[in-house]
């Protein structure tokens, strides 16, 4: 083709090239034939055996989900085996007639009570799906009973493609205990699968929903393993494939929580399930949550049941007007009520506007005249200083103090101790933020309603009507007021351990709010909390303990005209060296001191009793 070559030469050259090309084709085909010969003749026997008698299947080895323990090593959440009857499409008959026969056989199976094992509708759906779902079992019967499994296993030879799959399901041995904290597991939903945080999850995965189960799901899950197995004609495993190593599953991490089971039990018993309420017990020295109750409760075990019963249980809790799904301890938002008087007093002392001996000109005569408005007090208390005003929870004193101090100072002081719009960041999902209104945020929030900030609002706010707090915030508030050493992030995770018991991660206590004040302020506030419980006429005297000095503040939150008040009680003990802070709210139950005080007392009592018996145990152990 190059210039200088004759046409004939060019054609001859081209024919040579075609010949070379075809020679290349022959060589390549020969290589393929050699390989085929090796596969089909030399290695025929092993390949035939593998294909005739056995089939190779990829099996996912689901990693064991990590347990949850209480702080002393008691199991709070564990796993139980659960049997699923499933259809594997690759072992099902390929001919339509045979599949129909299998369908009729399955439909005719009855248990000893004469009940059908499978209903025709779900069977039909499963058979439909089996036509295009080839790689994973399709569930026919969820969480089957031992009897049902036995019936199927007995007839396994005549039911090709039907098999029993063992799964692991969550079990909550104490039922409703701490159910809002622990959460539950269920199959991942279509919506969740699309979310970026569930990247790497597949359909059918059971994931944590709510509570610790959700928050630490990635830790609990572990890493699934995989292996190749040989199965026989009816789909039963007969061995592994030689020379192919699977990957072992890595069990999920175990979570040692800060919950104290004994304390939690006492708290659960103290609040009846018929009441709406919440309790938080926290160690103010590090933020460890010792107990958390939200009532009414739900039983997370229902989510591990088979579909029909699960749906029944779900409908029951979801439609309940008492809203048992809400974790009131972190998602319940309430007015802080008179407990907020500690903040008002603190802000006043801190700024020098209040002192130990400051008395207001207007003594409490049952109410306070502000402009045209007459604002009532719940009693007639006379002239008081700040400690006694807190002891008796006198509103008139705080109306005047609030007007003097102004909201900015009060709110700033409150935020130092964990109140306000920033959630505390507890390690379970669903925490609501609080609200400390000032003129700007009040106008912003009530723009639509046309309400404007007025100075008269300070009257209500200074006694804790109008703000929003969660019970968790109340517990951290009283705890950090008592320690004066900062607000620690409240948390449930103490340690994560691997399945050998080695600590993988430990929760480092973290100060999230300064929680600082002048020693003078601290001293007066402690004296005030002391007087509430231990001095005559104190509103919180029903929370007193014989051997331990308890400090507390009661509250009766107004929320609706004509209804009983929300009963608040926040306590801390021992007052001068705090180890436990408890906040209790009983919705629409009456006065805080009378209703919630005894509940907090029971929890504190139990805490110090446990401590004593432990100390006793240690002594006998160390004694020779």
């Amino acid at each position: 083709m190059l210039k200088g070559m004759s046409e004939n030469e060019t054609l001859q050259n081209r024919n040579w090239n075609v010949l070379i090309y075809m020679a290349g084709v022959v060589i390549l085909f020969f290589i393929l034939l050699m390989r085929l010969f090796s596969l089909q003749y030399t290695h025929y026997d092993e390949n035939l055996q593998r294909s005739e008698n056995n089939r190779i299947r990829k099996v996912v080895l689901v990693a064991e989900r990590g347990y949850i323990y209480d702080r002393n090593g008691e199991v709070l959440v564990r796993n139980r085996p659960s049997y699923q009857i499933a259809l594997t499409s690759m072992n099902m008959p390929r001919k339509k007639a045979d599949r129909d026969l299998l369908f009729r056989k399955l439909l005719s199976i009855r248990d000893t009570a004469g009940e059908r094992l499978f209903d025709s509708l779900s069977l039909d759906t499963a058979f439909q799906r089996s036509r295009w779902i080839k790689n994973r079992p399709i569930r026919l019967l969820e969480d089957a009973t031992a009897e049902q499994v036995a019936i199927i296993e007995e007839r396994s030879e005549e039911l090709p493609g039907v098999m029993t799959v063992i799964e692991s399901r969550r079990e909550y041995p104490y039922g409703t205990l701490a159910s809002h904290v622990l959460g539950y597991t269920s199959e991942i939903s279509e919506e969740q699968l699309k979310l970026p945080e569930y990247d790497g999850y597949t359909q059918g995965d059971r994931i944590g929903q709510k509570g610790l189960e959700q928050f630490y799901d990635k830790e609990f899950r572990g890493v699934n393993g995989m292996k190749l197995v040989e199965v026989n004609a009816s789909g039963r495993e007969v061995g592994t494939v030689d020379g192919v190593d699977g990957t072992e599953p890595v069990p999920g991490l175990r979570l040692v929580s800060t919950i104290d089971l004994r304390l939690q039990k006492v708290a659960e018993e103290a609040i009846p399930d018929s009441a709406k309420g919440a309790l938080v017990a926290i160690d103010p020295r590090n933020g460890e949550i010792l107990a958390m109750v939200s009532s009414p409760r739900l039983d997370p075990n229902i989510f591990s049941l088979k579909k029909r019963e699960r749906n029944k249980g779900w409908a029951h809790v979801a439609l309940d007007t008492m809203r048992p799904l809400t974790n009131r301890a972190i998602s319940g938002t309430y007015p802080p009520a008179s407990i907020f008087k500690l903040v008002t007093a603190g802000a006043g002392l801190e700024s020098g506007i209040l002192t130990e001996n400051k008395y207001y000109s207007k003594s409490c005569t049952g109410g306070y005249q502000y402009g045209a408005r007459y604002q009532k007090c719940w009693g007639t208390h006379g002239s008081l200083n700040v400690v006694n005003a807190i002891r008796l929870s006198c509103d008139v004193f705080f109306y005047q103090a609030g007007l003097d101090i102004d909201m900015n100072r009060i709110n700033e002081f409150g935020r130092r101790f964990g109140l306000g719009e920033k959630p505390l960041g507890v390690d379970i999902p669903g925490e609501k933020a609080g609200w400390l209104p000032d003129s700007a945020s009040f106008n912003q929030k009530n723009k639509r309603l046309g309400w404007r900030w007025a100075r008269g609002l300070i009257l209500n706010l200074s006694i804790g009507q109008g703000q929003i707090v969660t019970p968790l915030q109340q517990a951290t508030l009283i705890g950090s007021l008592a320690t004066g050493k900062g607000v620690y992030r409240p948390h449930f995770m103490k340690e994560l351990r691997d399945n050998h018991g080695n600590v993988v991660r430990r929760y480092e206590p973290e100060i999230i709010r300064p929680g600082n004040m002048k020693p003078y302020t601290h001293r007066i506030l402690l004296a005030a909390m002391d007087s509430v419980v231990n001095h005559p006429g104190g509103t919180g005297k029903r929370g007193a303990l014989p051997n331990v000095r308890v400090g507390a503040k009661t509250g009766s939150g107004e929320w609706k005209k004509g209804e009983k008040t929300h009963a608040w009680y926040a306590a801390v003990a021992p007052l001068y060296d705090p180890e436990i802070a408890v906040a209790v709210i009983m919705e629409a139950a009456g006065g805080g001191g009378a209703v919630s005080g005894p509940i907090a007392k029971k929890v504190m009592e139990a805490y110090f009793e446990n401590k004593e018996t432990e100390a006793g145990k240690n002594e006998t152990q160390t004694a020779p």
């Binding site: 190059l2 075609v18 393929l32 089909q40 593998r50 339509k96 790689n135």
Partner: protein, 417 residues
């Protein structure tokens, strides 16, 4: 005297070629039938039925092509190439229907158009057309400028989809085109040699070091014999040495998990739970076929139910299982005869365009055959290239039939003159 008549060069139609094509199509439909026998849907929905429809449609198309004159083909080359590029750009940016994680289709309602299939044909036309007028020579590097640009644009667009295996088809067509447009076997060796350098130096085993040394010696020897321009010789030698060292260096720079991914691609069996799973099933299926196979319709019940793509990419394992070594050899012989009859069409005309078209079309077939079969028997990485006439799939069936149409046309039109 029938065979002689079949091979009569004076005939306008190569009847043997047509018979071979029909035979391969029948084998294909039967295999698709037995691979998907269990799907109990209506006849019109069945894969084998649809495949017949595709083939009939394609045959009509091929028959129509026979009457297209060669200069019309040449004239259509540029417009078709332009359309192909537009379609490739469209699929890349607008109409990416995500099938298997890659946007390769444009949904036209009635059927899904695969622009890369269309581009294969358009590229074959324009490349043959250009090279038939402008032969290439390593002594005149500027002869490569236009072919290079003709090649790189569709290649890059297809690679971007990403569809590596189809992009490689473009390389195969290009190399064969150069071979029939002026380059010698030695030239081809020199051009390809850097690839071998990469392959040989990927491992640091002594055998490969020695092989690489030999390769370099061979390159030097070939360069001396060809007496190429000094600059080009230097470039080729440097490319070899650089490829040798750079690949080692690049390899060492990869993270371990990236190295693993490359290894899995090159050797699927190193990851038996991932890609190797399909190959393992395929090997078992083919191997269990033995010399004579398990018989028609008997294979699909066992291993192939595991293969999600038994009727498309892994159709050869259906063949191997049901018809054994003899069946495989038979089909390979059919393919070889098919390619022989196809390439021999080049002798019908002295027009270099005919030669280039014929060899290019044959190469498209050959490349698919080799890469697909080598994949199913574990000799090559798992790629998505279908097997001509055997794999199920409308787009590719149509491509094959268009190529067959070209081949028939070239012979018919060359004889007519």
């Amino acid at each position: 005297m029938k065979p002689k008549r079949l091979l009569d060069h004076s005939l306008k139609f190569d009847w043997m070629f047509i018979v071979l094509t029909l035979a391969l199509m029948s084998v294909g439909v039967s295999l698709v039938y037995s691979a998907t026998i269990a799907e109990d849907t209506s006849v019109v929905e069945l894969f084998w039925f649809k495949q017949i429809v595709y083939f009939i449609f394609g045959s009509v198309f091929a028959a129509a092509l026979v009457f297209v004159r060669i200069d019309w083909l040449k004239r259509a080359a540029i417009p078709l190439y332009a359309v192909a590029l537009v379609l490739l750009v469209v699929v890349l940016f607008f109409a990416g229907d995500v099938v298997k994680g890659a946007g390769r289709w444009i949904d036209l309602g009635i059927f899904k158009l695969q622009p890369s299939e269309f581009a294969k044909i358009a590229y074959l036309l324009i490349f043959s057309y250009w090279l038939s007028k402008h032969p290439v020579s390593l002594f005149k590097m500027k002869t490569f400028v236009v072919p290079f640009f003709l090649f790189i644009v569709p290649f890059a667009l297809v690679l971007k989809q990403p569809d590596l295996s189809t992009a490689l088809v473009f390389i195969a067509v290009t190399m064969v085109g150069f071979f029939f447009a002026g380059l010698t076997l030695t030239d081809m060796f020199l051009i390809v040699s850097p690839v071998f350098s990469v392959l040989f130096s990927h491992s640091q085993a002594l055998v490969f070091e020695i092989l690489w040394g030999l390769l370099i010696c061979l390159v030097v020897f070939a360069l001396f014999r060809r007496r190429l321009p000094k600059v080009l010789s230097a470039i080729i030698l440097m490319a070899n040495i650089f490829a040798g060292y750079a690949s080692t260096m690049a390899w060492n720079m990869l993270e371990p998990h990236q190295q693993k991914r490359v290894n899995t691609f090159l050797d699927p069996m190193s990851d038996p739970l991932g890609d190797g799973y399909q190959v393992l099933q395929s090997l078992t299926a083919i191997g269990s076929g033995g010399l004579t196979g398990k018989g028609f319709g008997n294979g699909s019940q066992t291993n192939l139910a595991f293969l999600p793509e038994e009727h498309t990419d892994f159709i050869f394992s259906v063949l191997g299982e049901q018809f054994g070594f003899l069946g495989c050899a038979f089909v390979l012989v059919l393919y070889a005869l098919f390619l022989w009859r196809a390439t021999s069409i080049s002798k019908q005309s002295s027009d270099p365009f005919v030669t280039l078209m014929v060899m290019g079309a044959s190469t498209i077939f050959l490349f698919h055959i080799i890469v697909n079969i080598a994949m199913t028997i574990g000799l090559m990485p798992v790629t998505g290239l279908p097997l001509p006439f055997l794999s199920y799939g409308g787009s590719f069936a149509l491509t094959c039939m268009v190529l067959v149409g070209f081949l028939l046309c070239l012979r018919y039109q060359a004889r007519r003159r």
